[in-house]
């Protein structure tokens, strides 16, 4: 499909990953994941996938041993 005269859904920055080689993509992806950690407190009890939306309030912070 021709890309001129169409609607745009994402920013140029979002779609720039299209032109990256594999190593660049992985590096950018990892950097993005690291930076995204700053929102961990905000979405602590939320779900982004699956059939649940929020964790129930819980007095214990669940941890596991290896």
């Amino acid at each position: 499909m021709k890309k001129n005269q169409t609607d745009h859904f994402l920013s140029e920055e979002d779609v720039s990953i299209r032109d990256m080689d594999w190593d660049e993509l992985i590096t950018w992806w990892n950097l993005w994941l690291e930076q995204a950690q700053v929102t961990n407190d905000i979405d602590q009890h939320e779900y982004s996938h699956g059939v649940f939306r929020h964790e129930p309030p819980c007095p214990v912070k669940n941890k596991a041993r290896r």
């Binding site: 779609v15 649940f52 939306r53 129930p56």
Partner: protein
């Protein structure tokens, strides 16, 4: 992230990330897990928009055991959710885990019955992914998975549709009035054929851009409400499990994942509706 991978007996340094590494580990020896949703959007070179990973799993006991073992090796713990067990996964429930990797919070989500994908379509999904590394859902499947109740997912569907090569798929998923008008002119017979599948296509031949955009907005709202209703049914069915969870979280806290899993299953049999074993 660089780690050593054994390729044909040779230790090779591979530039990877945690989700690709987990996918490798889940699929050691055989295909058990296919990347979907946010991380699949990255692999399709659409956008990086999600910090969590989710996978469609094969619905069998061996897969669940293997994935749990991998997660245990990473020090993962259960988040509120269903046990990673086919008795609950087969009913559409999802399982959720979290662990720390190099200071990063890693969340992993799993299901075997992806929303909006019919059960009889799943064998083809697994066949298509056989031998692929990394395995991740194709664009059309990803577009259907993204028909959620979140506005931002429709931007991803719009971008995916513009990258699709198949005209029928473009007509099925496009979120662009301009693209749909062009497709209607180029493929009128195909549009007529697909109207039953996507009623919005009835207005794209000869419709104004404004009318098509109005129809696209209405279609999006219908899909959003449909997914909200789907999730509300799960939420309602999980009521007793949700109430019980704080007590359960106290019991399993500090346990290795496989032991925590055994406790979870025992209680889920009482509190969370599943299927017969």
């Amino acid at each position: 992230m660089v780690f050593n991978k054994n390729i044909n007996g040779l230790a090779v340094q591979v530039n990877t990330n945690i989700y690709l590494r987990l996918t490798d580990e889940f699929n050691a020896g055989k295909l058990r897990a296919v990347i979907c949703s946010g991380q699949a959007a990255v692999l399709h070179r659409i956008a990086i928009m999600s910090k969590d990973g989710d996978w469609i799993l094969r619905e069998n006991k061996e897969t669940c055991r293997h994935v749990l073992s991998v997660l245990q090796n990473h020090g993962a713990h259960y988040r509120f959710g269903a046990p990673l067990d086919i008795r609950w996964l087969a009913r559409g429930w999802s399982s959720h885990f979290e662990f720390d990797s190099g200071g990063m919070r890693i969340r992993t989500d799993f299901f075997t019955r992806p929303p909006r994908i019919a059960n009889d379509e799943l064998p083809a999904l697994w066949n298509d992914q056989a031998g692929k590394n990394p395995p991740f859902v194709d664009m059309a499947t990803l577009a259907r998975l993204k028909q959620t109740d979140r506005e931002k997912d429709y931007a991803i569907i719009g971008e995916l549709a513009q990258q699709m090569e198949n005209n029928a798929d473009q007509l099925r998923f496009s979120r662009s009035a301009l693209d749909l008008m062009r497709l209607a002119k180029q493929h009128p017979a195909l549009v007529r054929k697909l109207v039953k599948e996507r009623p919005l296509l009835a207005v794209i031949s000869g419709g104004s851009r404004e009318n098509i955009e109005t129809a696209l907005d209405a279609e999006r709202r219908v899909m959003i409400h449909r997914n909200e209703n789907r999730l509300a049914e799960f939420e309602s069915a999980a009521g007793r499990w949700r109430k019980h969870w704080p007590e359960l979280a106290r019991i399993i806290s500090g346990l290795p994942l496989l032991k925590a899993h055994a406790v979870l299953v025992k209680d889920a049999l009482k509190y969370l509706p599943g299927t017969a074993a």
